[in-house]
Symmetry: D3
Subunit: 219 residues, 6 copies
C-alpha cells in the first residue's frame, strides 16, 4: 500500500484545467476534498428531507472519484468530448491502467475493495447522483471564482454555464432544490464586474429548465 | 451554506507548517483529502481483521478534522505545545469561533449536525483512534518527503520521529501492525542521502516501544 | 547568533494574512522592510516640523517590530481580537517564547539589548507612535493593492477601513497630517474599478474623525 | 490568426510531465524553444560533415513539433504507451482536433501551410531524424537536472535511460556521434550525489548499442 | 557545446520586465519561442504577397535574438533608453561578453557561425524587419494580457502604445498591413474593463501614422 | 511621496541573482531587511567593544543600500565586473536615474535628505564598513542555503568564496572577529552533502588572509 499512499501526494501536483491562465490553481487532491465536503452537505439535506443515505457509499464515491486522474491526468475537457469513440476508448484505457495499478500495488486481500472504490462512481443510485451534483457545484465555484476576479477567458463562462446546466438535470432532487434556493442566490449576489452577464446567463439556464428564478436581479 | 462552501477554498490557501523552507508545500485541503484516504485504508484493515467500523463516523471525522484551522490557521506546533495553558485557551477560542461561525453561516436546521462535525474528532472510539493514526501517517509521509529530498532543517527529522512515536502509541491496533509490517519498510527502502540516519532513528523508536523491527537494515 | 541570522530567512517564508486569496503575497521580512522605510519618512517629516527624533530608537522599533511572528506566525486578525482574554494570553506566550529564544540563541552579553529589541514597540513615545502609523500605512497600501486589482474579498475593504481609522487616531501628528494631505490623495487618484466606493468610504472615515477631506472626488 | 498567436501563450501554461514532484518545471513553450536551439546545433554539425540541410524544414519541424499538445495536453507518457490502440486513437483525435482548429482559426489561404506545419515532424528525412534526436536531448537534460538536484523519483532515471537509448537508435548520424563524444562527457562530469549510478547506467546503454564509451569513469 | 545547451535552461529562469506586478510572467525562453512563431507567420504572409524570404535567416534571427540576455539579463527598458551613451556602452559589453562566451564555450569550428547567430538581428534586411515587428507583436500581446486582466500599472498601457507605434514604423510591409487588418481587430474586440481606453489609444496611434482605422468602436 | 512608498513594493518583485536555478528566491526588499538586521548586530558588537556607533547613519545606510536596484535591477554580477568602464558607466547611470527619480517623486523640502539616503553607502566610515560586511554576510547565508540543499551550480560555491574573502578584508574589525569566532563555526557545523568541500574552502580562505581557523574539521 506504500505506493498508494505516496500517490496521494501526486494528486497534489496535478492541476485542473491545464493550459489556461487562471488566478487560482486547484489540485485534484483539493478538488476531491471539496467535492466530498459538498456531497456530505447534499446528503445531509437529502436525509433531512426523508431519503435514506448510504453514507459509507456516498463518502467513498466522492473521496475516490478522481483518483484515476493519476493515470491519465486531467485530460482537457474538449478532448474528452471531441469524439465519442475517444471518450469510450479513454474510459477503457483508464480502466485497464487502474486494473494494472491495483494488481501491482494493492495487496491481494484488498484488491476487490479497491477495484470497487476506483470505479466511476456517478451511477444511478442516490449517492451516485449526489456525486454528480457535488462535482459540478465545485466546478461552478471554481469557474465563478475566475469570472469574479475578472478572468477574460470566455472558457470560464462556458464552464459556469455547463456546470449549472448539468446540476439542473437533477432538479428533482431535494438537495438541488435547496442549492438553487439557498446557495446560488448568495453566490450571485455581491458586486463584481460581470455580475449582470452572469445573472442573465443563470436566469436563462433556469428558465430553459423550467425552474423558477431563485435570485433577485437588482441591476 | 454559501460561505461554508466558499470557505473550503480558503483551506486550499492555508499551508501547513509555515515559516520553514520546504521543497513541497501542502495545503490544509490536500492534507484533509490524504488523511481521509489513509483513514479509509486503515478502516479497511480493521474491518478485515474483524472489527466493526462505523464508516459514516470514520469518514466524517477524517474529512472535517482540520476544518477549524480556517479560524486559527496552522498555528505553529512549538506554540501549541509551549504552554499547556495556551493549548487549552486556544482550544477554547477555536471552539467559540466555531460556534460563532456555525451560528452565522449554517442554517438553523443543520446547526446541530455541523456542531458535531466541526468538533475535535480524536476521541477514544475506534474511528477516533484511526483518525489519530491517519493524521500522523500523513505527517510522516510529508516529513519523509522533505528528508528524502535533502531538506537540511532538523525540524523534519523531529517531525518524523514525533509522528512515528505517536503512531506507536496505538501499536495494539491491527491497522497499526499492518502499517509497521507492510508499509513502513517500503517507505524506508530505496536510496536517499540520509537513509542510514532514518533507519537508525526508526529502529530506536520501534525498540523504545517494544515493537520488533519490521524493516531490513542493509547498510 | 547563528540561529538569529538564519531565522531572518524564516521571516521570508511567513506570509501575511494566510488563508485568503491574494493577487500579491507579502512576507513578514518584506513588510518589516517597508514599515522601516515608511517610519524613516514619517520621522523625517516630524523632524522637519520641529520634533526631536531619537533615530536609533525609531529604526530599532520599526525593524524589529514583527520579529516575534517567528514564534506565533501571523495569527489571523479575527482570532487576535475575537477574545480579549486570548489576546492577552497570546501576548504572554509570545513573551515567554521570546524569552526562551533569547536565552537559548543570544549570547549572554547581548541578551539585555535583544530583550529590549524584541519587545512590542508601539508605546507612547513619538517613535512608538510613528511605528503604529507606519505599520498601518503599509497595511493600507497592501489592502489598496488588492482592491485596485479587483480582489472580490470584502476583507480587503475592511482592512483598508480599519487601517485608515487607526491612522486617524494619530491625526494630531504632523506626519499624519502630511500623509493625509500629500500622500492619500495620490493613492486614491487614478482609475480603478472600485474607486468610487473607496472614495466614499475614505471620505466617511475622515469625516467621522473630523478631518477635512483632502482629496477630490471627481466622479 | 489572432487565436493562433494567443494560443502560443497557452503553451506557456502547459507543463511537461504533470503529477510528479520536480525541482524545475518546464513549459511546452520553453521546451519547444530549447529543442529548436538543439536542432539548430545538430543541423550545424551535419552540414559541417557534408550533409545538405533543408534549414527551413528543420526549423519548421522543431518549432512546431509540440504545438498540438495544446489540444491534448502533455498526456502522461505511461498512458501514451500503455496501449498501442490508444496511441493510435490519440493520434487520430489529435489530428482531427488539429484539422478542426485549422478550419476555425486559420484563414483559408494559410490552411495548407499550417496543416503541414502542425503535422508530426519526426519522419525519415534527415531533418525529421534531427528533430527526434533534439527532442530526446532536451528530455535528457531535463531528467538529468532532476537527478543531479537529488530528485528521489526513480521516474527521472527511467526517462534519462529511455532518452539516451532513443538517441542511440540514431548513432550512425554525425551529429549523434558528436553529441556522444563532445557533449555527453561534459554532462556526466562534475560532482553530484548519484553520479556513479548514472555513469554505470550510461556505460551500459552505450555498450548495449555497441558504442564505445566516450566518458571517463573516475570513481 | 554542453554549456550552451545547459544555458538554454537559464533562459527559462530569466523573466521579462522584472520589478513590476504582473498577472502572468513570461520567460525569455518562452518569449523567444513566441517571437519565432510570429515571425514564421509574418514571413508566410510576405511570401504569399510575392516577397522572397530567406527562411533560414528568418528562423535563425528570431530564435537567437534574445540569447544574449543571458549575459546582461532583461535590463529594465527605462535604463536602456535613459542614456544614449549607456545604451551604446551596454551594447559593447554585451558584445564583448558574447565574444568571451563564444571563445570559452563554443568549439573552434563553430565559432564563426555562432558569432553570427548571437549578433543583433534587427537589421535592414526583410528578415531583420520581420524580427523587429514580431518582437513587438509579442510585447503587444503580453501588455494586452495584463491590461485585459485589470493590471492597474500604467506601464502596460505605455508598453502597448510603444509596441503598436513601433509596429507602425513598418506599416509599408504586407505582413504589417495584414496584422492591422486581420489580427488587431480581433485582439481589441471582446469585453474587458479598459476596452474603451485601449480603443481610443489605438485609434490615435493609427491616425498619427496615417493608417486607416481597422477595427470597429462599438461603445 | 506616494510613488516612493509604492515603489517599496516593486522591490518585493525584484529577485536577486536572476537566471540561475535556486531552491529559494530572495527579493531585494527581504535582502534589505536582513542586511539591516545583520548590521544592527554588528554595530552592537562594535559598540560593546568600545567603538562609537552613529546608529542613525548605520540604519540609514543599511536600509537604503539597494533601493536603487529599482532603477537598474539586480544586474548580473559577472556583467558588473566584466568591464571596469561599464561598472563606472553603470554607476553614473544609476546616479542620474536616482537624481531624476528624486526630482520627480520627492517633494522639494525632502530632496536633500533622500539624495544622501540613496547614495552608495559603503564608504570608509565605521558604519560604511559595517554595511560592507553585513551585505556579504547575508550573501554568504544565501549561497550557503543553496549549497546545503544540494544546488549543483558551481556559482554558489564561488559566491560563498567571494563573500567570505570580502568579509576577511575587514578582519581587523571587532565585529568581523566575532563573526569568525562565534557565527561561522555554527554555520559550517551540521551535516550536509558538500560539507567537506566547504570546510576545506573556508579553511583555505582563512589561511590566505592569515586568520587562524575558527571551526573544527571533524571529518
Amino acid at each position: 500500500m506504500h505506493h498508494y499512499i505516496k500517490s496521494l501526494s501526486d494528486l497534489e501536483n496535478i492541476y485542473r484545467c491545464p493550459g489556461k491562465f487562471k488566478y487560482e490553481e486547484h489540485s485534484v487532491a483539493a478538488h476531491s476534498f471539496k467535492v466530498t465536503q459538498i456531497a456530505q452537505f447534499l446528503g445531509t439535506v437529502e436525509e433531512r428531507e426523508g431519503s435514506e443515505i448510504n453514507w459509507r457509499r456516498l463518502y467513498e464515491k466522492a473521496l475516490n472519484h478522481d483518483y484515476t486522474e493519476l493515470f491519465i491526468g486531467d485530460i482537457k475537457t474538449p478532448v474528452k468530448y471531441a469524439d465519442p469513440a475517444l471518450r469510450e476508448h479513454l474510459a477503457n484505457v483508464e480502466e485497464s491502467m487502474t486494473q494494472s495499478f491495483i494488481y501491482n500495488e494493492i495487496p491481494t486481500e484488498y484488491r476487490a475493495i479497491y477495484t470497487k472504490r476506483l470505479k466511476e462512481g456517478k451511477d444511478e443510485t442516490l449517492e451516485g447522483k449526489i456525486l454528480s451534483v457535488a462535482d459540478k457545484i465545485d466546478l461552478l465555484y471554481e469557474s465563478f471564482g475566475e469570472i469574479q476576479k475578472g478572468n477574460p477567458e470566455k472558457l470560464f463562462t462556458e464552464i459556469f454555464q455547463e456546470s449549472l446546466t448539468t446540476i439542473l438535470l437533477f432538479k428533482s432532487m431535494n438537495s438541488v432544490q435547496y442549492f438553487l434556493k439557498s446557495v446560488l442566490p448568495d453566490l450571485l449576489s455581491g458586486d463584481f464586474t460581470n455580475q449582470e452577464e452572469l445573472h442573465t446567463l443563470s436566469k436563462q439556464i433556469l428558465s430553459d429548465h423550467e425552474v423558477e428564478q431563485t435570485f433577485a436581479i437588482d441591476i
